[in-house]
Every structure is written in C-alpha cells, then in structure tokens.
Subunit: 124 residues, 2 copies
C-alpha cells in the first residue's frame, strides 16, 4: 500500500458501546474516499492504540498518515499527550510523513451543527 | 425566571483550555435563543457540576430543564452516570421537568459535519 492513510484518533472508553459513533464516522469517511484507508486508533482503554496503528500502516508501506483528533475540545490529551506521541512516532517511522490536524470539535461547521442540535433540543 | 433552561453537559478536564469549545458552543446556542438561559455543567474536574447547576436553576424558578450531553459517544458517562444523576435530580427537584436528549455526537448532521472535516483533512 502506498500513498496516504487517515487515522481517526479518539480517547477510548471502557464501554464497548462508546466506540459505535466513531466506527460510524470511520465508515462514513471511508465511503467518501475509497482510495484512502481510514482507521481508528485510541489513546487508552481500547485497541488499537495510536503507536500500534501507525506501525501497522508503516509496515504496509504508506508514505503519509494524517491524524484527526476526534475530540470535542483541546484538553491535555490533544495539547500534550498527542504531540509527544507524534514526536516519538516520527522518530520511529522516519519514512512516513505524519500530519496532525485540529480537533474535530473546533471545526466551525461541526460547531454550527452542534449548535443547531442544541437549539432544536431546547424547542421540544 | 420561569420557563425552560438548557444545560450543555460535558465531561470536564484538568486543562482549563479544554473548556473553550464548550463555552463557544454555549455562546453560539445562547445567541440563537436569547429567551432561553443556556449554561454549561460538568461531570467532573470542572465547575459547576450538573447537580449544582440544576439546583441553581431550580432556585431561580425554572419549570423545565433540557440537558444536552455534549459527548461524542454514548460511553459509560452518558449511559450509566448521567441517568443515575438525572434520577436523583428529579427526586430532589420534583417541580422541575428534566429532559435529557441524545449525545451531540450521535446527531446525523453533526456526524455529517465531522465526516466532511475528516475528508478535508485527508486531502491536504
């Protein structure tokens, strides 16, 4: 496999049901771009963890990976843990260009859709 | 204050910066409906906690509160902790009709906006 891959990076949780919307997001994203492999990876509590998933994609020969933090806010995980993991992954996989974009929840269009949902919730 | 109020219920985090997108969501929602008080409440690590915020609104005389879980997925917090808290709050405040809607991240339009963001991220 050459070319780029996309990793949706989420927190992870004990309840297996927590994963469902992320699986759905992965499936919807994959359907929109069948040529780019889209996978999930987690910070904790769920598999695969980010380092293992990056290693797997590197072993398959991808030249670039874009990591999308599927977080609502820029907490310690996105601001501190993720950059440290990415630094280590770049050292471990010098042949793979790793890019990290902003948190999904800070995107204006996502915020707009969340606002619409909140407004609708208040008008029963 | 009579009428309904809206509470955006989020997880909370140690990093104060984590709160920013939730404040933004609160502000955007409030701007769209100036007649409905919109506030934040947290499960842990940040103030106000949900019970304190419900008590404050009840003391102000609201007749109904809609709680919007601003979570990406239905994990243990939304599936287990929140219903238990809501049950206790309904007992504590029998004069207030408390409604809980689904998690923001499970809304189809929010999922669509998140998908758009992921697809755009993969096409640098």
């Amino acid at each position: 496999m050459a070319g780029r891959a996309l990793i949706l990076f989420a927190h992870g949780a004990r309840a297996e049901s927590w994963k469902a919307p992320f699986e759905r997001l992965r499936g919807m994203t994959q359907a929109r771009m069948p040529d780019v492999p889209v996978s999930l990876a987690f910070l904790e509590l769920m598999e695969p963890r980010l380092p293992a998933q990056v290693a797997a994609l590197a072993a398959e020969g991808v030249s670039g990976i874009t990591v999308v933090p599927v977080f609502l806010g820029q907490g310690g995980h996105v601001l501190r843990d993720l950059p440290l993991m990415i630094d280590a992954l770049r050292v471990a996989h010098p042949g793979v260009a790793i890019t990290v974009v902003g948190a999904v929840g800070e995107d204006p269009d996502v915020l707009k859709a969340m606002t619409d949902f909140c407004v609708a919730a208040a008008r029963p």
